[in-house]
Symmetry: C2
Subunit: 207 residues, 2 copies
């Protein structure tokens, strides 16, 4: 069985999309653990009500990001996790987390990378920047995670229209519904079925 | 009658899309002049066969970009041009051209600005950079022209899928067919019918 771990800090709507895709059989796998840095993250509650292990490991009980990264890596290594999904996880983990899971960590970002990504671009801030710039198209990106923020190989992207008089909240909702909740489960499905190859930092379907 | 001027350096396929939209009545206006820096640009031939003034004004006969910019501005001012369309024009004009036509010059760029734009990003180079980056979505942008490269207010954008094993040439063709040839005539139609407002560098439809 393909084992999926999820890290989330907030409401966990992307986690819900993954849970739904597992339940419906689109993803042939199992979510083995949902971990949050935030004990009141609703993502943990979503895990519990679906019979999935829900774990809170706070950042502050560790002396540094390296120690925290090691603890989280151990957590998922112990569970023989095949893929770790960052679904709105608000702590930037260090190489102690990333190295043991090379090409086995994916992230969802609410813009079309390379636009509106990198340091400081998270959550509503992304959509605020999008609206301030006046672009007419935005979207979401699922990518493998490397040592830098939002630069790993891109797996899937989906475009979403920006509409006149959008607010950041309205745009965020549209990007979630039309892009994030679709491409995140689809990326997990492709990885779990071993359908992708990475070459020269580019992700393609196997021929 | 709404008077349109076009600047082009190459094959003029975007010019053709505008000619077609005028002929079919989608754009209620007239192309008063097509000007190229390149005397063998096929865009000039497209103008001639459609009974449109075709003018070659080379860059090298002028001492500097300022003089060239003034000459081109005079050309279109004499023709009482309401809108100037940069349709693959490979010379970056100075403020002597832009000032007399504030918010009356538009450009088409073959990517989703702010990605893959600015200095060095033109023609096939854009699509080469897109493919090298591994993004899965690109597109085209029509924007008003200001003093900097590719930074003026965005009028329309349209997304286009990048496919596995695309070449720059194949991707360029798809972006032209699915995006450029659609949004450029549509932007001209919106401007000619006075349907847009610009506020805080953002373009919106009038309510």
């Amino acid at each position: 069985m393909f084992k999926i771990g999820v890290l989330a800090s907030g409401g966990g709507t992307n986690l819900q999309a993954v849970i739904d895709a597992v339940k419906s059989g689109v993803i042939k796998g199992e979510i083995v653990s949902v971990l949050s840095n935030n004990k009141s993250a609703y993502a943990l509650e979503r895990a519990r009500v679906n019979g999935i292990e829900a774990v809170n490991i706070g950042r502050k009980q560790f002396s540094g990001i390296s120690e925290y990264s090691k603890a989280l890596a151990s957590h998922f290594l112990e569970r023989e996790t095949d893929l770790i999904v960052l679904a709105g996880f608000m702590v930037i983990l260090g190489e102690d987390f990333i190295k043991p899971f090379r090409n086995k960590i994916i992230n969802i970002h609410p813009s079309l990378i390379p636009s509106f990504c990198g340091q400081g671009f998270y959550g509503l801030k992304v959509h605020e920047a999008v609206l301030k710039s006046g672009v007419k198209v935005t979207g979401a990106t699922v990518h493998f995670v490397d040592e830098n923020a939002d630069t790993g190989p891109i797996i899937l992207q989906k475009a979403v229209d920006v509409k006149d008089y959008d607010t950041p909240e309205i745009l965020q909702k549209r990007v979630m519904e039309e892009a994030e909740w679709k491409i995140l489960p689809e990326a997990i499905r492709l990885i779990s079925q071993n359908e992708l190859v990475i070459k020269d930092n580019i992700v393609r379907r196997k021929k």
